[in-house]
């Protein structure tokens, strides 16, 4: 089967990219005066060494995977959506507002649904700007990120600030809405399953439905899509809306599962990292899961390294950047396609 060989090649080249990037990171460590191999070992321990470490990695991987699935779906439709950050923030905002209004346990579904809808509307704005006015989605999604960030910033300093008024943050959402922690004593929450579910549904949608085929045709060849009678406007809208829904869901899950409230530094840039996740996953929704775990582990590992040896957490960002570069270098054509 051709697809077995093809996915095999994709996996090998992604793994190679990660190894290449880690080696580059090791060189950076060495130049900075640290022994690279022990340092990498500390990172691996911090990310995978215990039940807690593993849980931390998966908690970080959850929003990365949800945003990553969203970015992947947009990439497949030919839209370079780099606005997952803003879509996620808007989803989180919706979750916090709904989480103050709805207080019973079964409302979790509606809170998450609301987060997804607001995220998808935020992404649809960019789609509309593109189809109606020809604005590049690269520009518009990036700008919408800033708008979302400063909107959240203003809200948590002003109208939505907690009752105590001591910190720029909202009140906690109702406890009944908090996602269950199923691996106590770790903080690992059920949002992990939402992420896995989104990846599977995204895969099925993209590869097993007529609409998914249309989305991929549009992404691969807009002219062929047009010639085949595929409506480019509606397909673009749909793809970006679904993409934004995933990112919005990430915001909702992060609020209900981890932060339980909204504050300025709510996301350490999950939405931006998601672009790297999608690239490392070779734009495959199922590939997003291991790629997200990989990036989650990098984040957790770098934090552990900082605690243990005092290396700046910026190292994680450097390695992440190396991963993206290595994916493009090793991956060649497919990475170019986006």
């Amino acid at each position: 089967m051709a697809w077995v060989a093809e996915s095999g090649r994709a996996i090998v080249s992604s793994v190679a990219a990660v190894i290449l990037a880690l080696s580059a990171g090791a060189i950076v460590l060495w130049v900075a005066g640290y022994a690279p191999l022990p340092a990498l070992w500390v990172m691996a321990q911090a990310a995978f060494g215990s039940q807690f470490a593993l849980a931390d990695t998966l908690i970080k991987a959850t929003p990365l995977a949800l945003c990553g699935v969203g970015v992947t779906l947009a990439f497949r439709s030919g839209q370079f959506n780099i606005g997952a950050e803003g879509q996620m923030l808007m989803g989180a905002l919706a979750a916090v507002i709904l989480g103050r209004l709805l207080v019973t346990g079964w409302a979790v579904v509606f809170v998450l649904l609301g987060a997804a809808i607001i995220g998808s509307l935020w992404a649809w704005l960019a789609a509309w700007l593109k189809t109606a006015r020809g604005v590049s989605e690269v520009i518009s999604t990036l700008m919408l990120n800033f708008i979302a960030f400063w909107l959240v910033s203003w809200l948590v300093h002003g109208p939505l600030q907690e009752g105590a008024k001591s910190y720029p943050q909202t009140d906690l959402v109702a406890e009944a809405l908090w996602l269950g922690r199923w691996l106590p004593p770790t903080r690992l929450h059920t949002g992990v399953f939402v992420a896995v579910g989104a990846a599977v549904v995204g895969y099925v949608w993209l590869f097993m439905t007529p609409i998914g085929l249309r989305v991929r045709v549009l992404g691969e060849s807009p002219q062929a899509a047009w010639t085949a009678g595929i409506d480019p406007v509606r397909t673009t809208w749909l793809a970006l809306a679904v993409s934004g829904a995933c990112a919005g869901l990430a915001g909702g899950v992060e609020v209900l599962g981890v932060s339980r409230r909204l504050y300025e530094q709510f996301s350490p840039g999950y939405g931006y990292m998601a672009v790297a996740v999608a690239l490392l996953a070779r734009r495959h929704p199922l590939g997003v899961l291991p790629a997200a775990v990989c990036f989650g582990a990098l984040e957790v590992g770098a934090a552990g390294l900082q605690r243990a040896v005092g290396v700046s957490a910026g190292l994680a960002s450097i390695v992440e950047a190396f991963v993206v570069l290595a994916v493009v270098v090793v991956g060649g054509r497919e990475a170019d396609a986006v």
Binding site: M1, A2, W3, V204, M208, T209, P210, L213, R214, R216, V217, E220, S221, Q223, A224, W226, T227, A228, G229, A337
Partner: protein
């Protein structure tokens, strides 16, 4: 003036042997034809001679000296000039500016001398975008001559030309031969090779099959050498029925780049092959897109006496299907699989679905396998990307897909462009078979031979206008003049005269 020799040139791309030990000798002051189907290795060979591709093994020898080309710059310095099939000209620059692109020390006197040889001296200050295609090609030749080319490589030079322009090119090439320039004339058209070339080398699958002196070659022999076997004689298209299948009345549409369609009317009967001949860019794409519902258009289109619904999908549902000119970008999606491409445009059909919402992969693959078997499409697997197929097999897939939808009317634009002879024969035969069971085919093609051999009636398109319908035995000169837009001929054969 020197003899060029290629000695045992080989080039592989992955597992494909593009060239497999090619040796040939190009005599000075001769026109050397390089004949072969698409994929025979002609372009690779030319690019090696031009220094753009480095061979895996083998030598290029000029006047007994072995040449080492590391880039086209070296080849140009050695006197090689290449005229690409698609011109490399900056359209917003003048002819002179185009010649001087990349020159550090422009030499006006040399430019004048070269321009005079090509009768381009008056056009040196004209912006290239305003020149007709035939003249643009001459600007490419001017670039080569200005750089003192003594070996001129012409890659499929007649592809975009009208018959009169072809005649002018041939005359020019013969003149250049007299002045001692060696010419390599790359083509897949037998007739041209026989008419123009002193020597004809036939390439097939990266090897030299045979070399003929012009006098010794016959069309049948050349065709057999190109294909590797002799072809069955083409069957005759059965006569059409009487029922009017497609009626077009006063169709108008605006163009993005080509020519706007200005009120064209015609009728096509059931089982009829209706040809639209013309030089590219005269409104063919616009006409086709307006017919199939892609391009908003004024006027009316009737299918079997009923007005055709607007929109591409609605017209597809009404039985009006389309083979676009650009198979790689418009017809197929190269990165998607053969199976996925086989249902493209029809992906919502219930035949490809299970449980209401899910694509039935097995049914789709079975469909693609059946298409492949019916048209002898060679491919690694139905799950392989269409990119892995040769041009001929891609075109067969596209044709098979559209014919499998049992169209009432099929609009096909250049359906055999860049396809090998065997695939051309297969596609033509499929058209004839479909027409004998009632298909109306609107065949829009820049291959005049194709139109003349297939069509019951033909029209010529020029600047968005259609001529009267003509029988296929109309004198070639009339068609040529209509294609070139000769005002006098249009007075006779235009509509309403």
């Amino acid at each position: 003036m020197s003899t060029w020799k290629l000695d045992d040139i080989a080039k592989r791309y992955g597992s494909v042997r593009a060239l497999d030990g090619v040796s040939l000798t190009i005599e000075p002051g001769r026109i050397h034809g390089l004949l072969g189907e698409n994929g025979a290795g002609k372009s690779t060979l030319v690019n090696i001679l031009f220094g753009a591709i480095r061979p895996d093994r083998g030598h290029i020898i000029c006047a007994g000296r072995q040449m080492r080309f590391t880039s086209s710059r070296d080849a140009i310095a050695a006197g090689v000039g290449l005229v690409h099939q698609h011109f490399h000209l900056v359209e917003s620059f003048t002819v002179r500016e185009n010649v001087w692109l990349g020159e550090t020390r422009p030499d006006e006197a040399r430019l004048w001398a070269a321009a005079n040889r090509l009768a381009l001296a008056d056009q040196l200050n004209t912006v290239v975008g305003q020149l007709p295609v035939g003249i643009r090609q001459r600007v490419e030749i001017l670039k080569a001559l200005y750089r003192r080319a003594t070996l001129l490589l012409l890659d499929e030079p007649t592809a975009a030309l009208t018959p009169p322009e072809v005649e002018m090119l041939f005359a020019l090439v013969r003149e250049l031969r007299l002045s001692g320039v060696s010419i390599v004339f790359i083509t897949h058209k037998l007739r041209e090779a026989l008419e123009l070339c002193d020597t004809i080398t036939v390439l097939r699958q990266g090897r030299v099959v045979a070399t003929y002196a012009q006098a010794a070659a016959t069309p049948d022999e050349l065709a057999a050498a190109m294909v590797g076997s002799s072809l069955a004689p083409p069957s005759v298209t059965p006569p059409p029925g009487n029922q009017i299948r497609l009626r077009v009345n006063g169709l108008t549409t605006d163009a993005d780049v080509g020519a706007s369609i200005r009120g064209v009317s015609f009728e096509v009967r059931a089982g009829e092959i209706f040809g639209v001949a013309g030089v590219d860019g005269n409104g063919q794409t616009e006409l086709a897109e307006a017919l199939v519902g892609l391009r908003p258009a004024g006027g009316q289109v009737w299918l079997d006496g009923a007005p055709a619904p607007p929109g591409r999908r609605a017209r597809m549902a009404a039985g009006l299907h389309y083979i676009p000119a650009d198979r790689c970008r418009a017809g197929l999606v190269l990165n998607l699989s053969v199976a996925e491409n086989a249902v493209l445009g029809d992906e919502v059909a219930s035949a490809w679905r299970k449980w209401g919402w899910c694509l039935d992969g097995r049914a789709i693959r079975r469909h693609a396998t059946a298409l492949a078997a019916q048209f002898a499409i060679r491919m690694p697997a139905v799950s392989a990307a269409v990119m892995a197929l040769s041009g001929g097999n891609q075109q067969k897939l596209l044709t098979a897909r559209e014919l499998a939808r049992k169209p009432r009317v099929l609009v096909a634009v250049n359906p055999t462009w860049g396809v090998d002879i065997a695939a051309v024969a297969a596609i033509h035969q499929a058209f004839r078979t479909a027409c004998s069971s009632g298909l109306s085919l609107v065949l829009i093609s820049n291959e005049l031979d194709e139109i003349l051999s297939l069509c019951h009636r033909l029209v010529v398109i020029h600047a968005g206008r259609l001529s009267q319908p003509l029988p296929p035995n109309v004198p070639l000169t009339v068609i040529g003049r209509l294609m070139a837009g000769d005002a006098h001929t249009w007075e006779h054969y235009g509509v309403g005269s």
